[in-house]
Structure formats: structure tokens, C-alpha cells
């Protein structure tokens, strides 16, 4: 019989299992950054494949080729009297091939939807909301709709051809459900956040008194917005939908900026307008008639900050670019302003202002007036709020301030959430945190570095976009 015996008692063994589990839990509580060892070794912008992917010789992919048989394709070739290839995607081909005819009958009978309903018994089939999303996501025609909220080429009833919308067909939901619907749609189109501000006696003041050509902006009763030579009319009962789009994260390499912020914003703007119109609601673009950061702050999407014309967000720092405003009668639950400690943090931080190549940013405390003597003398600002004001006479819009904010940070290192939580709850550490931000080298990067790193797919680094 073996004389082996364990020095570990059963009790100690079970305790040990528990310790190992605790160790596992502690490590797992740290946000996982890498999914496998290959990601660990693939840092610093390398593009090599994971260990399980073999690189093959040139001209030797996994598909076997017979080069003696394979020839350049003759695109004038015919199959059954029509151009090759004969496919089930064309209803015209149903007339010449029975197999295609059968596939088309299946499709036209709604087989796609029937299949989905069988798989998900609670699925009701496409509805107005789905059709609105389909139309908006396909609106490469830039179908914007009019100020009055008319959108053409909308499929009002699933399965029917596109048509001019019937004004009495509207998507129905509670204001809270509608906000969720719109938020999902907006994010899908590429917006970062949305907020809603009801029109009240105070918030109406966030609208300009007139357009720059002097046309007065008035609030009217009823539900019909309109514009003519005499006035721009906004229905008093509408809400202001505010949404933001991000600057490309690679704008951290400013002043070698990208223009993705506004270019992307224009696509998102059109899709959201189309979506609202297709749901049956008014959607008037009032961006030219309102103040952007003001609505951003009142909607809770950002806070007014030392960055002045940029609304600073606890999620994205100064990286908001597009800040669009739409008045709509779509019933939407309002979103509250927030205090994430940013306004207080700005007092001690000053990173953006001290990094301004043109000394165009305020360095003092928040004030009711402009801290620059010349700007104050000229009254070159909007009074009525205690905040920071850009030195417009010096700012040439280089965007360096976008890249500097401590709240710009990504999501991969857990210290950023720690900083956000601390800034909001224990402001005494703000100066220290701002100093650490600078000491740790965050902020603007060498523009040449952009070409050395793996560029993100699309516009934004995945770890930068937060839920």
C-alpha cells in the first residue's frame, strides 16, 4: 500500500479552493482588457494575427485552385437567355426559371417574416418603427424632410411600396418608451447621446430672438412649425431634442485634426430627421436658431465648462463635436441636467486653457462677465449665466482644447472611472487629479503617431465609446 498521504487536510483543501476562487474574483473584478495572450502581445499597433491563424504563401489561400480551368469571367455570358449569373434576386428571372419562380413566390408571400415568427413566437412582424429605421438607415438620398416635418418616400405600412406619408399614421408609445426608441435609433445612426428639453418660459430664452438676417423667431400655438419671410414659427408645445456626435478619437492628434466630427454629424442629423418624420412626427432643425452648449447642459448630455463652446461630458470629456437641436411633437420624457463634478473640476484643472496655442481660453474662475477686458468692453458675449467665456477675438478654432480634457479618457484602464467618481464626490482632490493627468502624458499627441497605430474601424476607438 502506498505510504503517500497528503499534508493538506480536507478542510484546508476546501479553504484553499475558496482562496483561489477569491483570487480569481479579485482579478476578474479588474476590467478585462485583453481577451487572450495574443492580444497582450499584439499591443502597440501591431497587426499580426493571433497564434491560431497561419499565414500562407502568396497565391495559396485555403481554397484549392485549378488554374488551368479557371479563366477570366466573360461578363457577356448568357444563362437561359439572360446575362449570367441567373439569380433569385431578380423577379424578372422568375419567368425564365422555375426554381427562381418558386423562391420568389416564397419571398413575396412573406417567408422572411414567417420564418422569424416561427423562430420567435412573440415577434409580431415589422411595424412602423421598423420601417422608419429601415428607411432612415438607407437614406443615402439624404432625405431630410422639410422644416414643417414632411418626409417623402416613406413606407407607412409594412409590405407596401414607399409612399408619401399619411399624416394620421403615427408611432404610439409612452414618452419613456419613445425616448428609449429614439435613443437606440440615434445611437445606431452614430449619435453618442440624446437629451430632451421641454419648452418653458426659461428654456425658450435659449432660442435666439431672430435669425441672422433679422427674421424673428416666434413661439406659436398649435402643432405646425413653419418658416416664411416674416417669421420662423416654433410650436410652444414641442420639445427640443438634443443629440451629440463625437469627434473622432484620433482628433487627439490635433492640430492635425480630422473633419469626421462634422462630416459624420451631417449623416446622423439626416437619419434622425428622417426617422422622426417616418414615425409621423414633426422634426424641425433649429440648430441655427439656438445655443448648442446651453441645450446640451439643460438636457444633461454635458455640463457647461471652461471649454466654453464645447459642452464637457463625464463620459466623453471635450470630444463632442456635433450638437444638433430639433424641435418635435414626438412625446418624449425630458432628461435632467447632471452634475458630475465637471463644473467644479474645471475651476482647479485649467488643462485645456493652459494648452491653448492662442491663449484664447479663460484662466480665471467662472464669472457673470467676460474676464478679458477687450471682450468685456465690446460686450462680445452672452450675459446671464455664470460660466467661462471664450476669447473669441483670439480663438481660431484649432481644436486643441478638444484633445486635452481629463474626462476624454478611454474605457480600458479602470483609473478613469476612479477619477470620474472621485471628481464628482470628493472635489478636494481635483487639483491633484488634474496634475496627475498632465504628468501621465494624457492629452494631445504627436500627429505623426496616428499613422503608426492601428486606426479604429469606423470613426471611434471601441474602448472610447461607452454605453
Amino acid at each position: 500500500m502506498s505510504k503517500f498521504h497528503s499534508t493538506v487536510s480536507r478542510r484546508d483543501f476546501m479553504k484553499g479552493l475558496g482562496l483561489a476562487g477569491a483570487g480569481l474574483g479579485a482579478a476578474a473584478a479588474a476590467a478585462p482588457v485583453f481577451h487572450d495572450l495574443d492580444e497582450v502581445t499584439s499591443i502597440q499597433g501591431e497587426t499580426k494575427h493571433p497564434w491560431y491563424v497561419k499565414e500562407l504563401e502568396l497565391e495559396k489561400p485555403t481554397v484549392e485552385m485549378d488554374w488551368s480551368t479557371y479563366q477570366r469571367v466573360d461578363r457577356t455570358k448568357q444563362v437561359s437567355g439572360t446575362r449570367f449569373p441567373l439569380t433569385a434576386t431578380s423577379s424578372a428571372h422568375a419567368k425564365i426559371n422555375a426554381t427562381i419562380a418558386a423562391a420568389r413566390v416564397l419571398k413575396d408571400s412573406g417567408h422572411n417574416i414567417a420564418w422569424m415568427k416561427e423562430k420567435f413566437p412573440s415577434y409580431q412582424g415589422p411595424d412602423l418603427r421598423t420601417e422608419a429605421m429601415l428607411g432612415a438607415s438607407a437614406t443615402s438620398r439624404m432625405n431630410y424632410g422639410t422644416f414643417e416635418g414632411v418626409v417623402d418616400d416613406v413606407r407607412r405600412n409594412p409590405g407596401e411600396p414607399l409612399s408619401i406619408p399619411a399624416p394620421d399614421v403615427k408611432w404610439q408609445g409612452t414618452p419613456e418608451e419613445n425616448l428609449k426608441t429614439l435613443r437606440n435609433a440615434a445611437r445606431f445612426f452614430g449619435a453618442a447621446e440624446i437629451g430632451v428639453v421641454p419648452l418653458t418660459a426659461n428654456t425658450k430664452k435659449l432660442f435666439n430672438a431672430n435669425y441672422r438676417d433679422g427674421t424673428p423667431i416666434n413661439f406659436v400655438s398649435g402643432n405646425e412649425p413653419y418658416r416664411n419671410d416674416n417669421e420662423i414659427a416654433i410650436p410652444s408645445g414641442h420639445s427640443v431634442l438634443f443629440f451629440s456626435t463625437l469627434e473622432s478619437s484620433q482628433a487627439r492628434q490635433a492640430p492635425a485634426p480630422t473633419w469626421t466630427g462634422y462630416e459624420h454629424y451631417s449623416h446622423v442629423e439626416r437619419k434622425i430627421h428622417y426617422f422622426l418624420g417616418a414615425l409621423g412626427y414633426k422634426h424641425s432643425n433649429v440648430s441655427s436658431y439656438t445655443q448648442s452648449v446651453a441645450f446640451g447642459a439643460f438636457s444633461g448630455v454635458c455640463e457647461s465648462s471652461r471649454a466654453c463652446m464645447i459642452g464637457t461630458s463625464y463620459k466623453y470629456g471635450n470630444m463632442y463635436r456635433g450638437m444638433h437641436r430639433i424641435t418635435t411633437d414626438f412625446p418624449l420624457a425630458p432628461t435632467s441636467p447632471v452634475d458630475a463634478g465637471i463644473h467644479k473640476f474645471c475651476k482647479d484643472c485649467r488643462t485645456c486653457a493652459e494648452s491653448c496655442p492662442y491663449n484664447a481660453m479663460p484662466l480665471g474662475d467662472a464669472s457673470w462677465e467676460h474676464e478679458d477686458t477687450e471682450e468685456e468692453t465690446l460686450k462680445n458675449y452672452i450675459p446671464g449665466f455664470k460660466g467661462w467665456r471664450l476669447l473669441n477675438l483670439k480663438c481660431i478654432r484649432c481644436k486643441n482644447c478638444h484633445t486635452q480634457c481629463p474626462f476624454n479618457s478611454g474605457d480600458a484602464a479602470i483609473v478613469h472611472d476612479l477619477v470620474r467618481a472621485t471628481a464628482s464626490t470628493v472635489p478636494i482632490f481635483n487639483g491633484f487629479l488634474a496634475n496627475m493627468h498632465r504628468a501621465f502624458g494624457y492629452g494631445t499627441k504627436n500627429p505623426d503617431e496616428w499613422w503608426e497605430n492601428d486606426a479604429p474601424i469606423g470613426l471611434f476607438d471601441a474602448e472610447f465609446v461607452k454605453p
Binding site: 499534508t7 493538506v8 484546508d12 479553504k15 484553499g16 482562496l19 483561489a20 476562487g21 477569491a22 483570487g23 480569481l24 474574483g25 479579485a26 482579478a27 476578474a28 479588474a30 476590467a31 478585462p32 482588457v33 485583453f34 481577451h35 487572450d36 495572450l37 492580444e39 497582450v40 499591443i43 502597440q44 499597433g45 479618457s409 478611454g410 480600458a412 484602464a413 479602470i414 483609473v415 504628468a439 501621465f440 502624458g441 494624457y442 499627441k445 503617431e449 497605430n453 476607438d461 474602448e463
Partner: protein, 90 residues
């Protein structure tokens, strides 16, 4: 990666506890505390180092090694030495 780190950390702590039991090494509560803080700071350093590299912030990554990694090593060393020196004296 974190699965592996967790297994290693758990196994290391388990091994340490069993070894100390075998040698009749007594550990005071504050020695456990300092050691635990050191381990937590070490894990914090590793996570932020790797996260900073993923965010393309190499300066920040190196600063974490200095600012939190070094204190982590120091705390772990202090915990170790407190136990070791008391053992030698006792």
C-alpha cells in the same frame, strides 16, 4: 489573461498560506492587511498598465509602473519583512 492572473494569484496565496502553516508562521492581522493592500495595488497597476497601452497612452502606462507599481512592491516587501523578522526574533 485575467483568468490566468486570477488562477496564479489564487494559487500563490493558497501556496503561501499552506507553506506558512507548515512552518508554523504566525501572521498578524495588520501584516495580512498590508499584504492585501500590496496585492490589490499590484493588480491595479497591471490592469492600468495594460489598459493604458490599449488606449495608446504609453507614457501613462509607464507612470503607473512607477506611481502604483513601486508602492505595491514596497507594501508587499514590508508585509514579508514584518513576518520574517518577527519569526527570526521569536
Amino acid at each position: 489573461m485575467w483568468l490566468i492572473i486570477g488562477l496564479i494569484a489564487g494559487a500563490a496565496v493558497l501556496g503561501l498560506v499552506l507553506w506558512m502553516r507548515g512552518k508554523d508562521v504566525a501572521v498578524k492581522w495588520y501584516e495580512w492587511l498590508v499584504g492585501a493592500l500590496g496585492l490589490a495595488l499590484l493588480l491595479f497597476t497591471i490592469q492600468n498598465y495594460a489598459g493604458s497601452l490599449a488606449e495608446l497612452e504609453s507614457t501613462a502606462a509607464n507612470m503607473f509602473l512607477l506611481v502604483s507599481g513601486l508602492p505595491a512592491i514596497i507594501l508587499l516587501a514590508v508585509s514579508w519583512q514584518l513576518v520574517a523578522r518577527r519569526q527570526r526574533a521569536g
